[in-house]
Subunit: 335 residues, 2 copies
């Protein structure tokens, strides 16, 4: 059973994919399906002895180009659709124990180029309305493969969080005549107190109303609508700041911090969203201290009201203190 069903209580579409229940789960190092294929480590999903970045279709897809017919009949109340779309895996490096922040800025820029290319290619497909690039990192987030990788989903509609952000930005545009993220990034530049790192093109800051204690937004200073809207030097600046942020995360508590990274870009089917689509990358780590997690529980799951036990100004200071000194100096020198 692989299909999409609409929940009549919230109006949201949800994805069902029962084959995923049996997907590869925390395999031994020597069984890693994302490692290069080598003598002593045969038959991985990547038939190459070494590689820089690799993208391929997820072996346990939740969305696909040619999905099976739904298992139930559609009614007015209970709508169901084939699970059209795309799910891809992006392997960042052939080094099993590395992470995004371990790569050089040039290597991360190659990952950014691959993201931009897949955003372009998947966005052209009829069955894809929104391209969502993300990374789940760490067992505490539910990662089932440790090898450093991210994922790309091509949803057949604009998913709920993106839709909420776009609708809210549209209301802001109507009320103030400006893009809300352009206003936010200008305000964060002026305030400074929640800024963690910055360069010419991007700024990393703890959001004013962060959901998670060490949440960060990495936002373009200018109104870039997607990765495709960035010049090569701007993509390099994004890679630079992603490296700074992920290294600060790992320095914060002295272990690789589990997080979700989400790239928010313009929908790909409809140009009318461009005025309110402002490229930003969200990092949502779930630790609230070195030992304790921020769990999503009653208030978050049942009511949708996030409770944060920390002050964004304080966690920004904690993260600034964890930024590698050379990056910090460059940040401070930046206009």
């Amino acid at each position: 059973m692989t299909e999409r069903r609409r929940d009549p209580i919230t109006g949201q579409w949800r994805i069902f994919a029962t084959d995923r229940q049996d997907r590869t789960f925390l395999p031994a190092r020597t069984e890693c399906p994302l490692c290069p294929t080598l003598p002593g480590h045969p038959s991985t999903e990547i038939p190459e002895p070494s590689y820089d970045v690799v993208v391929f279709d997820n072996r346990f897809p939740s969305l696909m180009a040619s999905p099976p017919a739904p298992s139930v009949m559609r009614t007015d109340l209970y709508e169901v659709e084939p699970a059209q779309g795309a799910t891809e895996v992006v392997v960042y490096t052939d080094e099993h124990s590395a992470s995004l922040g371990d790569l050089s800025t040039d290597r991360i820029a190659r990952v950014v180029d691959v993201w931009a290319d897949r955003y372009d290619q998947l966005g052209r497909r009829d069955e894809v309305a929104y391209v969502f690039i993300f990374e789940n990192r760490g067992e505490a987030i539910g990662v089932t493969l440790h090898h450093p990788h991210g994922q790309i989903y091509g949803y057949p509609e604009i998913p709920p969080v993106a839709r909420l952000e776009l609708d809210t930005a549209l209301a802001h545009l109507g009320a103030h005549g400006t893009c809300v993220l352009c206003d936010v990034v200008a305000r964060e530049r002026a305030d400074g107190v929640r800024v963690v790192a910055r360069n010419r093109t991007f700024m990393a800051y703890v959001p004013f109303a962060a959901r998670f204690p060490y949440e960060l937004q990495v936002t373009a200073h200018r109104h870039a609508t997607s990765l495709l809207d960035l010049t090569d030097p701007e993509r390099h600046d994004l890679a630079d700041l992603l490296r700074t942020v992920t290294r600060a995360y790992d320095a914060l508590f002295g272990f690789p911090l589990p997080y979700v990274m989400s790239v928010h870009q313009a929908p790909t089917d409809d140009g009318e969203w461009l005025a309110v689509s402002h490229l930003h990358v969200e990092f949502t780590p779930i630790h609230r201290t070195a030992e304790k997690l921020k769990y999503l529980a009653g208030s978050e799951i049942g009511a949708g009201a996030f409770i944060n036990d920390t002050s964004p100004e304080q966690t920004a200071a904690d993260l600034r203190a964890a930024v590698p000194r050379s990056n910090l100096e460059r940040s401070l020198a930046c206009p």
Copy 2:
């Protein structure tokens, strides 16, 4: 710092309460603050040698009747408000190792009566617009006290999930002239395939588009808008079905299943929502098998698109098989 901040990107209000960072965390059995006060177990939060049900203000509140002034100035872009509202703790029983399902139906009905009374009392307060009754159960959900208890939040506005459900129900009412949950519960009664248990007043079923594998909705057959809208026999029927469901959860994998339980009722400030407010209790356990959890990760946190690796029809069958036989027979005999 205890305050509410509005996120300009989503328009959602979030709650900040830094004192909660130091709240009591998984104390030893002999230090449990929710146990009765007895020789050898002095100075708990409940100065009684025994009790049935107890309600009191949360010692580490995120919302309160007289909150402090916010830590930052409000601007047009970054709105901030005092954290007005209420947070209460409901202790179900003085038995430290019991759970809701261990209590008799009459005892659970007393808990339901307390919920109804607090819904009434908190709902009358000027600073409370929505009363949210919930339980976080199990360490995997992030519970910090094991003693069986739930919580009640009095939010100063209708929180995002409730608002989404009400808006969606309003659109359904406009399109079809009916309450969407009245339609859902009639359809589930007719289909039967997702029903887990039922009695005269309530029905428990896996939602057609469930987010979590073993998610359940416990919904009134008739259009009851809140617990206050139930007769005493109807409250007893709710208690009966809550007992059946929680016992089935504990039998499912042979251990107390961690879950969030959320009671969805009418907002308390505005009667205009009554036509679309249909009392239902949601259970969202996070296990997808006995050993594996359904984590909220990239697709859920970053995009808001839930992926469920199970079929609601199959998990309903699993749960039916876990319902205690006497309850199952009563369910089947029910009209």
